[in-house]
């Protein structure tokens, strides 16, 4: 096992975000998992679909909630070498959003392509 690790077995990981932020702790927890996963030099993908697209909506302001606005942290992912961010086009459209509403650079792909991409992963974490 150790040899395999030393040899650098790289797996394809995908973190799938389906929930809006703040109502539950899922979005923040996944974001922290993504940041930690960066330390393991794996092939990390992050997907936003369904209400998950709201996690990267521009203009979030949580001051009145007394909660931390963690949306700026998605912009730090690039510095963690996590650059494979995917957003599902249908999910945006269903919610009246476009790519211009998003606060990070992402690749917008169709639902069918998202499904295909998920199928290529070794590990998928959905929340």
């Amino acid at each position: 096992m150790e040899e395999e690790y030393e040899g650098g077995i790289v797996k394809k990981f995908m973190f799938v975000n389906r929930k809006a932020p703040y109502g539950t702790v899922y979005a923040l927890e996944v974001l922290e998992m993504v940041l930690i996963s960066a330390a393991f030099d794996q092939d990390v993908h992050v997907a936003f679909l369904d209400d998950g697209v709201f996690q990267i909506k521009k203009g979030q302001d949580t001051k009145d909630l007394g909660m931390k606005n963690f949306s700026p942290t998605y912009r730090a992912l690039e510095g963690y070498d996590i650059e494979k961010l995917f957003v599902e086009r249908e999910s945006l459209e269903e919610r009246g959003l476009t790519e211009d509403d998003l606060l990070v650079d992402v690749e917008v792909i169709s639902r069918a392509d998202m499904a295909k991409l998920m199928g290529e992963m070794d590990v998928v974490m959905t929340a």
């Binding site: 940041l35 930690i36 960066a38 963690f70 730090a76 510095g79």
Partner: protein, 110 residues
Amino acid sequence: MAYETNGKTVEADEEGFLVNINDWNEDLAGLIAKDEGIDMSPEHWEVINFLREYYAEYQIAPAVRVLTKAIAKKMGPEKGNNKYLYELFPYGPGKQACKIAGLPKPTGCV
């Protein structure tokens, strides 16, 4: 634990990280540094200020390798390397510098 500065008590966790980031000021940073056995120089301050700016922009304390890379990008490779940063902060530029900067423990630091 807690820090005493200018007659005020500032709350910190068991490792010495501030509970409330807004409690931070430069005097307190000097005090935390002293606790860590560090005599603050302009080079130390440069890193501390960089960390605070990073936090203001991204709302996280960077993992050490992310910090190193970001410093290299902004200040050049002679500062953005492990040797330089560990000489300034022997217990780790991630953990120790973040503590002095009043930030939480780095996210993604394992």
